[in-house]
Amino acid sequence: MDWQAIWLSVRLSVFTTAILLAVGTPLAAWLAFSRWRWKFLVEAVVALPLVLPPTVLGFYILLAIGPRSPLGALYGKITGGILPFSFQGLLLASVLYSLPFTVQPVASSFASVDRGLVEASWCLGASRFATFRRIVVPLSRRGIATGAILSFAHTMGEFGVVLMVGGNIAGVTRTVSITIYDQVQALDYAAATQTSLFLLALSFLVLAFTYAFQRRVWNVWPMS
């Protein structure tokens, strides 16, 4: 079993989920509450990774972060390194790829918070930010948890994008899904099955635990 690859995938998924919660939550709040006329354009951009084939997305990301692109050149100037074939590059790609998986559930749960409660909070003198932090976020915790779980799971199983920007370096960009693919390609079906079963079991356990945990939370603070 390639523990190095499994550990890499877990790390990548944890970091991706953390970044997505930090970046995706404000974006989701803006999408849920903004009345801007062209908001639908932003919504469409956020949802694009759902539609584009991962290899296409991965190819564009490779071009966009390569040393010849403005972003890649800037990164090279600051750090002296290059983004493709690095963990940071993979992280950036994963964040883009899983963006809708965080933003959509979070935005829809923000939007479904009772408007009366929000306005009551304003009337009692709480600022917009305090209202968001103390009313909207706690009432949306299920949506936020769903977004986090989906992003984590989506990154664990990510393949096409990693294939396109990763370059298959052991311990840096060779994630577990790439390992399984390589094993299948090398006709080592026994090892591929073993790794796949492990991934299946791990994913199931993570999901089952999180849903079980959510249920307990739900029992203590009934939401609807």
């Binding site: 390569g66 040393p67 074939f85 294939l163 396109m164 370059g167 298959n168 370096i169 390609q185 006709l187």
Partner: protein, 247 residues
């Protein structure tokens, strides 16, 4: 996977004019290694001219994937593998060797590197090769690096493409500075003008023998095999950067 279907107008005309005679066009479906893409694009046209009654449907892709698909009942008539071993596993006695792959160091036109010395250049940060674990060109590239005494010094710079086209993509996009690709790719019409290459001496790596096998016997399949192994097929393969069996 790219599907090239040669159900040309000529074929339709032949079908109509043949209404009186019972000679419907024969279909031949071929699973071909991705490195044959450019050679066979021309080849299919030539073959169709010589054998207008046969319609070719060619799927290009990874030989390992085709192997797994054929094992599980994919309905191909003919399999042209990039690695003779896959063909041998399917039918040890019926394999025919049609070509051998060659490799080359490739740099984009915009690069300052000289392809002949690029692998030794200290300014190079990333070198792309195909994955030696399963891609025959990757195995050859690794063997060539070892026999040229470069493997230890470049090992940390290697990035692995899933197949030889993706390896080229890594270099084209600038993400890798240089790399080792199939000569057939470096010579491909769409790639030729985009870069410079240096062919790795064939003595530096074990021969990448490409083998084919007829999966479903038919007259059309045998005709195609004869054509590929005959003078037209040979000159075409040579022109597109392959060595020929017996040379």
């Amino acid at each position: 996977m790219i599907v090239a279907r040669f159900a040309a107008v000529a074929g339709m005309v032949a079908l109509y004019s043949a209404c009186g005679h019972p000679s419907a066009p024969r279909k031949l479906s071929i699973a071909a290694a991705a490195d044959l893409q450019f050679a066979l694009a021309d080849g299919a046209r030539q073959f169709h001219q010589q054998h207008p009654q046969t319609e070719l449907a060619i799927d290009y892709g990874s030989s390992g994937n085709f192997y797994a698909q054929i094992r599980n009942g994919a309905p191909f008539d003919l399999f042209l593998s990039a690695d003779v071993q896959y063909a041998r596993n399917l039918a040890p006695d019926a394999v025919f060797i049609y070509a051998a792959g060659r490799i080359a160091v490739w740099v984009p036109v915009s690069s300052k590197l000289d392809p002949a010395t690029a692998l030794r250049d200290p300014s190079v940060r990333r070198i792309a090769i195909a994955n030696p674990q399963h891609a025959p060109y990757g195995r050859a590239a690794e063997a060539a690096l070892r026999s040229m005494g470069l493997y230890e010094s470049v090992e940390k710079k290697l990035v692995l493409g899933e197949n030889i086209s993706q390896t080229l993509q890594f270099i084209q996009s600038g993400a890798a500075d240089t790399g080792i690709v199939a000569l057939s790719l470096a010579l491909a019409p769409t790639v030729r003008a985009q870069g410079r290459y240096w062919e790795v001496p064939v003595s530096a790596y074990p021969k990448i023998e490409q083998g084919g096998v007829i999966l479903k016997d038919s007259l059309a399949a045998r005709e195609f095999r004869e054509w590929l192994l005959g003078p037209s097929g040979r000159s075409l393969l040579k022109q597109f950067g392959f060595s020929l069996p017996g040379e």
